[in-house]
């Protein structure tokens, strides 16, 4: 397990995010890209039908139940390059809430506005966004307001335009880059004015609280979870 350096710890505390360049590379990245493209393509028609029926968001889609579709989606949950930091920041008491294997369409407006995901009363809530393709500036890259995760930060208001957010930083990156952030912080997907969809995986974690995720949630992948640590990560023992 690669634990965070003192500098990374300090940045996490002060700014609320860390960037892991080349977090996933080589064969694992190729496997991830291949599985992503295969399943995104396979799931698209059904998603469009659901959009037509008014049952799904029109501006992006997620591959349903990815952990059951390809082992690589499982492998990245506790991937060494960022898993140590996740464990360290949650006092080795981490659970997975869920993965979002997401394709975001180029569109004149970002699919979401600036927001935090949770309030400060929530147990530490962490997301790791992994770029599956290269994400250039102006093509739906992640945006974050450093320091906005702190209880005394703000107040923040949602601007009409993403780029008008006070104090924000954007994170273009190569495929395989992982961005970890405290979800109390204000974040967004920037506008994608390119003609390339943004492909990324958003892994959602939390510091464990009893009963947060039931043992049935990930029962279908319990065969992959042979170690006590993995069983805990996937809440398989309640």
């Amino acid at each position: 397990m690669i634990l965070p350096t003192p500098e990374q710890k300090a940045q996490w505390e002060e700014e609320g995010y860390l960037v892991f360049e080349n977090a996933i590379q080589g064969e694992d990245l190729k496997r991830l890209q291949t599985a992503f493209d295969y399943w995104a393509d396979a799931c698209k028609a059904e998603w469009l039908d659901r959009v037509e029926a008014g049952e799904a968001v029109a501006t992006f889609y997620d591959i349903p139940k990815p952990l059951e579709k390809d082992p690589i989606f499982f492998v990245i949950i506790d991937y060494p390059s960022y898993y140590g930091a996740l464990m360290a920041f949650t006092d080795h008491d981490l659970i997975l809430l869920g993965p979002q294997v997401r394709t975001v369409a180029p569109w004149p407006v970002s699919y979401t506005g600036w927001h935090p995901d949770v309030g400060h009363s929530n147990p530490l809530h962490i997301k790791v966004q992994i770029y599956v393709n290269d994400v250039q500036p102006g093509s739906g890259e992640f945006g974050f307001v450093p320091g906005s995760h702190k209880p005394d930060a703000g107040p923040y208001t949602r601007p009409m335009r993403q780029e008008s957010m006070t104090g924000h930083k954007t994170f273009p990156g190569k495929a395989g880059t992982a961005i970890m952030f405290n979800s109390c912080g204000w974040h967004v997907s920037m506008d994608n004015h390119s003609d390339t969809p943004r492909k990324s995986i958003i892994l959602i974690y939390e510091k464990r609280t009893p009963g947060r995720i039931g043992p049935k949630q990930y029962a279908s992948i319990s065969d992959y979870c042979q170690t006590p640590e993995r069983r805990k990560l996937f809440s398989l023992d309640g």
Binding site: K44, L48, V51, E52, A53, G54, E55, V57, A58, T59, T103, A105, P106, W107, P108, V109, S110, Y111, T112, G113, R158, M160, R161, D195, P197
Partner: protein
């Protein structure tokens, strides 16, 4: 500040003088005439209204609407329809707007790719000539986009930023197969919760020429008046679009029996109780007067 009902329908019995299409809900002998509307408006201190064409899109089908606008030029403005697939929509639009009181047109589809990932060339959209004409002639576009069409809107809005747009009925984009009529003869639209992210149209708040009707609550709510389950949805629209771009409307006559016209004149206060007096006045008529350019009374 006038109080303006920004979206409703009137129709008379089908006749040679006023031909119209018929349906189970508006059979040939049903009428909801303008005099009945005026009675309700009088009773509830509503000054002006937008009459939206229904029951046919041909020029002849618009005769009753045109008559109402002619008879009450200071009270009403009109929104027309365009026959689907019309070979020359600009000509149709021009015919209906020659000093008639019709200020814009309502439609639901834009004729672009169904797939948001497809290459978008706005000039290839079937609705492009309508938007082009609206931009040239300063028409208002009254939109109730189908769910599969809503993603096309920002491309058109970017191309024609000068066109005034009014998204109907809480900016909902109804899904295919989700429309029905209830026992009171009112449209019912099944929607999947009120998560703002579900609604592509919510993201259009960025465009300053996009406005939204606060209306049609009965069609989306699973509760009776005052439709408290829609309070969050109203707050979301207020926060996204601001009080200067929202317009109250009743969708007369569908609401006459349940909950009744009078109750609907209070629905905004019920669902947005923290509005200031000025904000409420804007939503209840000030915005419609400014955006749609209603005449002074």
């Amino acid at each position: 500040m006038p109080r303006i009902d920004a979206h409703l329908h009137v129709f008379t019995k089908a006749s040679a003088e006023f031909p119209r299409e018929t349906s189970d809900v508006w059979p040939a002998d049903r009428e909801e005439p303008v005099e009945k509307l005026l009675g309700e408006m009088e009773k509830h201190q509503i000054d002006q209204a937008v009459l939206v064409q229904m029951a046919g899109a041909s020029i002849a089908n618009h005769r009753y609407l045109l008559q109402c606008l002619k008879d009450y030029p200071n009270r009403f403005l009109g929104i027309g329809l365009i026959p689907e697939g019309h070979p020359n929509p600009a000509e149709h639009m021009a015919q209906l707007t020659d000093d008639t009181g019709i200020i814009g047109f309502r439609f639901s589809t834009f004729g672009g790719p169904r797939d948001i990932f497809a290459k978008m060339d706005v000039r290839e959209f079937a609705a492009y000539p309508i938007w082009e004409c609206a931009a040239e002639r300063d028409y208002v576009l009254w939109l109730y986009p189908n769910a599969i069409n809503a993603h096309l809107l920002p491309y058109l809005i970017q191309e024609f930023p000068q066109v005034r747009i009014v998204l109907n009925h809480l900016a909902v984009s109804p899904g295919a197969g989700k429309f029905s009529w209830d026992e009171f003869g009112r449209p019912q639209i099944q929607v999947t919760g009120y998560n703002l992210f579900m609604h592509t149209t919510y993201r259009l708040a960025r465009f300053e020429n996009v406005n939204v009707h606060l209306s049609g609550q009965y069609a989306f709510s699973s509760e009776e008046f005052p439709y408290k389950d829609l309070a969050g949805w109203h707050s979301g629209l207020l926060s996204g679009f601001g009080a200067k771009r929202l317009m109250w409307a009743t969708d007369f006559p569908w609401i006459l029996e349940e909950p009744g016209y009078g109750k609907l004149t209070t629905v905004i206060e019920e669902l947005l109780p923290n509005l200031s007096e000025a904000e409420l006045a804007d939503i209840m008529g000030g915005n419609a007067k400014r955006i749609l350019r209603f005449p002074d009374l």
